[in-house]
Symmetry: C2
Subunit: 768 residues, 2 copies
């Protein structure tokens, strides 16, 4: 795929021309979602070429039996994965006796896809000559309602170009779907019942094992030149898992025939009776009708953009890239429901099981915190609070911890660990740290302390207990050590004293300790409730502090750096720039042992620590560590470049900062890694946002105040971003000469720009 595949455009993602080789990639890129459901850009009509079918419902998962080569104690029995959900979009089309199939047409021209990010819809159009000679023009628009979030809408319009056409529309809903990544080729859905009534049909199915009940529904209308016909299906065919309607129409050359399909899901998470729920939802959608639903969609997206848009002047590809990232993040997670979270591929593919990773806390929360109501970030924190019991159970039953120590899973749907590689599942324990850090970060940004006495403190205590038990005292070093871990850099396994892990472990204990003191003073009844619940004694607290105050950190005095782990300097320290290009990416070229013993870093590790705890270190320390580690970092994780970009900007290495920024902002649109067909990299998109806001904009929150140190890549003429800071929207616009602030709000806001205090009055423009 080349860089011309997606046409540059400020607000839309556009593909022109039909290429069977790009179908799977485009299915990912043109995915739509509304936080509650998602849909890959699969064709409605039958397609016999290569395709990866994917419809997804947030929160609906299946515990697929673990597949391993060699079992190890402590492995979870299941990997909970996002389900390919029943198909609601399908419309088989027959034209003059021939099935429409873009893979079998005599000719396809003017094929075009557009994902209109400003308005939140996806459009596909083409002209085709069928094997029977009929020429048709087709235009299909599809969207998933952001408001009525159980509903998707399709308008499928056909114009015969050279003769009259007899068109048979065969819309269907089908629960007979499978996952491509099923471990044992099992079916995940058990069909329960079907129902049809006039133009409506319902297929109710439940997931095996988890027993989530889902009613998939459709309602169809046939139109001629935009006017609804009073048609009922001629034939209804129904099996246990599929209902299909047949409508026949004849349409003259040049006239427009269309089918409007309303479809979607009602799920037992939200409905006691999913069938009657579906009937109600259809009624609601029908009452509004297609045009109003579309108008509402545009309106809702316009509000989203008002709070979260980033503009980039002078670089349309960069503009398109950042908007695509913001658009996808909003499609993936709306923040309404604390039972949901953000899968690394969102609703664009099956990979990574659609589960929750530490990506959420480390990379996504800053975006949602700054561009949404603060309740959204609070819901993400609450998600972990609600899974605390499972994290304690995980630490106890699987890993042998005790006394309420909590280890959050590496990968999860419902709080149970899903992943099964010991080096990750058992050793990549730093994830616990990010979950505690997110609580700190939420309070720092929003100023809302109430979350901590209400819920957060219990999480902090469980995590501090884990670190306390996980460290052990080394007589040899006369300090506490943390042995056998995998740090954020997953190109090391089972190392001792990973700097990031030891640092965040110490920080977690200290932070939990401080919050206990603070809650004790300021929220005594919460303090009492919690301490009684978790049975925390002063003796235990003092034991914690012994570990945190006497934690070991490996350093090199000579180089003035912290060591990523013990003995890092024993490696054969060949710089990335001196590594033969033919050896990259090393994760595709090298065996695992070779990767492990090499000095190459998959993603920010020591530098991740400097990112989280920037204020704990001097700029000189940052510079020394950045220069040392950056030279060994291969950034083979999509989550890596953003941290380096932010730090490069801070260190005035703007060319480098910009290069790192570029590396992720169009990762999927330009398909750098030739894998976008599997789905888009949703969680790393939040890192791209961070690169601009925290990197180029230099935004930080210190002592309840926003700080900026705006910089601008020389390739741009200007850029702007918006921040929801404590319920006021601040727009920051940067060009090569000045920075402007505009505040939508009611109260004066003091910010610091390059250390200088600036007062921003509501609804006025301040230029610095």
């Amino acid at each position: 795929m080349n860089q011309d595949y997606i046409k540059p455009d400020n607000w839309s993602i556009i593909e022109e021309g039909f290429d069977v080789e790009s179908v799977k990639s485009s299915e990912s890129i043109f995915s739509i979602g509304n936080g509650a459901m998602g849909q890959r850009a699969n064709f409605e009509e039958n397609y016999t070429g290569e395709t990866f079918q994917g419809s997804y419902i947030a929160g609906i998962y299946y515990p697929d039996k673990t597949r391993v080569g060699w079992w190890k104690n402590g492995y979870p029995k299941y990997f909970a994965k996002v389900l390919n959900a029943p198909n609601w979009i399908g419309i088989d089309i027959e034209i003059n006796g021939e099935n429409l199939d873009l893979n079998a047409c005599a000719k396809v021209k003017n094929f075009r896809r557009e994902l209109n990010m400003k308005e939140g819809w996806y459009n596909r159009s083409f002209e085709a000559t069928l094997q029977n000679g009929t020429e048709i023009k087709v235009n299909i628009r599809r969207f998933l309602c952001m408001d009525l979030d159980e509903v998707g809408v399709i308008n499928y319009e056909i114009t015969p170009l050279n003769k009259e056409a007899k068109i048979i529309y065969k819309p269907y809903i089908d629960a007979g779907v499978t996952n491509e990544d099923a471990n044992w080729e099992e079916k995940f859905w058990e069909p329960l019942e079907t129902k049809d009534h006039e133009n409506e049909a319902f297929v109710t199915a439940q997931t095996f094992k988890t027993h989530f009940k889902v009613t998939t529904f459709m309602q169809n209308s046939i139109l001629e030149n935009g006017k609804k016909l009073n048609l009922s299906p001629e034939i209804v065919s129904a099996t246990k898992e599929k209902v299909q309607f047949i409508y026949s129409v004849s349409i003259a050359k040049g006239e427009k025939s269309s089918i409007q399909k309303i479809g979607g899901y009602t799920v037992s998470l939200n409905h006691e009776n999913t069938l009657s729920g579906a009937e109600k939802v259809i009624k609601e959608a029908l009452a509004k009708g297609y045009d109003l639903l579309l108008a509402e969609q545009i309106e809702t997206w316009s509000k989203i953009w008002e709070m979260s848009d980033i503009t980039i002047d002078g670089d349309v590809k960069a503009q398109q890239g950042i908007r695509f990232n913001i658009f996808q993040l909003n499609q993936t997670y709306s923040g309404k429901d604390s039972r949901l979270n953000i899968g690394p591929k969102g609703f664009t593919g099956e990979k990574y099981g659609g589960s929750t990773y530490w990506d959420t806390e480390a990379y996504c929360i800053p975006f949602y915190m700054a561009t949404k109501d603060q309740q959204v970030a609070r819901n993400l924190l609450t998600y972990r609070y609600n899974q605390l019991d499972k994290a304690i159970e995980n630490a106890e039953k699987n890993l042998g911890f005790k006394n309420g120590a909590a280890l959050y899973p590496m990968v999860t749907m419902n709080g149970e660990e899903c992943h099964n590689e010991w080096e990750i599942t058992h050793e990549e324990i730093h994830r616990n740290g990010a979950i505690a850090f997110a609580i700190f970060n939420y309070h720092r940004f929003t100023g809302d302390y109430s979350y901590i006495p209400e819920k957060g403190l219990e999480v902090l205590i469980g995590i501090a207990r884990f670190w306390h038990q996980r460290a052990n005292f080394s007589k040899d070093k006369n300090q506490y050590v943390i042995l056998g871990v995998t740090g954020p850099n997953e190109y090391e396994n089972n190392v001792n004293n990973n700097f990031y892990t030891n640092y965040i472990a110490k920080w977690c204990i200290d932070y939990a300790y401080e919050q206990i003191q603070k809650v004790s003073l300021e929220y005594p009844s919460d303090h009492k409730r919690i301490i009684e619940k978790v049975k925390l004694s002063d003796v235990e607290l003092q034991d914690w502090k012994k570990v945190s105050t006497n934690m070991y950190f490996a350093k090199s005095e000579e180089l003035g750096i912290y060591l990523q782990q013990d003995e890092f300097l024993d490696k054969d320290l060949v710089l990335v720039k001196d590594l033969d290009k033919s050896q990259r990416p090393i994760n595709q070229k090298w065996s695992w042992d070779r990767i492990l013993r090499s000095p190459y870093i998959k993603q920010a590790d020591v530098l991740q620590c400097f990112y989280f705890f920037e204020e704990h270190f001097s700029k000189e320390e940052l510079q020394r560590n950045f220069e040392f580690y950056e030279a060994f970092t291969v950034h083979e994780s999509s989550l890596s470049p953003c941290v380096h970009s932010i730090q490069a900007a801070k260190l005035d290495k703007m060319d480098m900062a910009y290069a790192f920024y570029l590396r992720t902002s169009r990762l999927d649109l330009d398909d750098y890694n030739k894998e976008v067909g599997e789905g888009c990299h949703i969680t790393s998109m939040a890192g791209t946002w961070m690169s601009i806001v925290e990197g180029f904009g230099g935004m930080r929150v210190k002592d309840d105040t926003l700080h900026f140190s705006p910089k601008i890549p020389k390739e741009w003429t200007g850029y702007s971003f918006k921040i929801n800071f404590r319920n006021q929207i601040l727009k920051v616009s940067v060009n090569h000469k000045e920075t402007q602030f505009h505040l939508e709000g009611t109260k004066n806001l003091t910010v610091f720009v390059n250390g200088k205090e600036v007062n921003v009055a509501p609804n006025s423009l301040i230029t610095v």
Copy 2:
């Protein structure tokens, strides 16, 4: 299973009483083999209870598609596993209209199994009352001919006890078999053709993928009171993969009816035409007949015992245990064929795929070297020589080495790596060391240097090149280090500078270097041939030496010990004796991360080094290291206690030495680990032999001379063993007062006993 399950007996393994719970265990323990084929003690007649069917042919394997949870570069695509071979033993039996099935009989009594180790046969007898009221007595004897090693013989004898019986014998051969451990439930055998002729039948099948062709054959005779009847099968039923004959006889109460079945395999490894080969083999076996075949079997085993027996006086269970071990080793590997090797479970189960591990070089070669003609050990060395090209390919293609560096596989059938855990496949590279050490050990024991210029030197060069490339220079330590390995102690993964690995790496380079010099001087034409072939320059040789002379070894000066690996002393050093019993065995109780960061040692690691290179260290060093590491060793590998037993004996810790000895000698007979049903621990049986000969007997070879330092456990009154030392058999008998030597040979032999020179004349008894 309790310790009374197997009756104590000096020469036989005996089970009495029928217990459905023990069937699978007994099927392993009573397995028979002849080096070319093996057979679990499955019943000939149909059995509907729980059973684990297993027939195995040496050298016939199937590359089963690898199953992993998460693929890593460098993993092999296949795991070559020993095949469950076509069934040649089956004889369905019908008596007065009822199928004989021990799981369905009204009553079974006097059930008895005997594995007569002295004579090499397996007998099963019982009395059963059928549901139809017929009472019968049954006696079945089975053996696999040691000489005619493609042939097995069964004599199945039935005596009706309370009435006349109409007996229908339905012997069959069947290629429709599967492996229990198939990764993808595939069939491994493709049937090709069947043939039958009078009392003979043949099923020819080939393995999928590897296309080994095997003709499974049978020839049946029906006897009455021991006299052959001139009967042909009444009915022959044949499918594509199975032929079954039906013979009906009537036999009066108290008379004996029997079927004699000759069966077995001819394989394409040894026959151009397996079918005509089978016909010839049957003719040969028939010409001898059952009685002569049995007599030959007894004769052959008597010769084996003459060279390899160990006697123990005053402890029948210990006597039975050690003989069982020697018997199984002889059943597993005869040493005739350098294409074969010794699977960890021999022919007693599927586990470990029946493949070759470093067990062969580290544990088995000393036994075969001392109790067989030296050609047998030479064949085991040649096996690796023949796989050198594959080892070079493995290092190059899978792991990125170059220039002829060889990494032998962890697990193999044909020289290709089969195992797929990076921490073992890629990191447990010390196996290379044992393969080089075996060459040294062979020369040390046999005095036959010719193997080195002929074949061994090329292997040594490939291995030295591997170590040279695998080590890297640490600027920080100013020495060469070996990072990211798994040592013999598999309870550590990805550690730096495992002492054993570093030591044997250095030794391999030095030994290869010395042999190159020696061959250069003493075998100049071989030297020229080899150096030209492998393109070895003096520059490269000097580079090797840089690594070996400047290799890093971690030590603790304070404790006076070598460190198993860097940072071993950072662990929480709780002794095994202080570990709660409920936590053992840790490999069943603990998650992998917990095992890894614990100090507990699965099997001898630093001490394995002291075992191989005893003369490089002082007794005080051994004592300090032994006392330190033994206290952390959990011996959860069956290969561990033997090394500790030998060293404990050397250190005059005889109670400990004896306890370690006991731990393996009856491992399978007493089923300590509740897993004998999966098969017996064949390779560790050689360690039991080593415990007596090298441990209690203190046998060493130094400067072409045998040394002994005999000790005896207080529980025994005496013991003896035999050694084939350079083509003379030396019998060593030890009791609490003295040691006696008896030499079967022609030349005087000088030995050292506790450092004192003793001359042993042929065919006379010397008492010391």
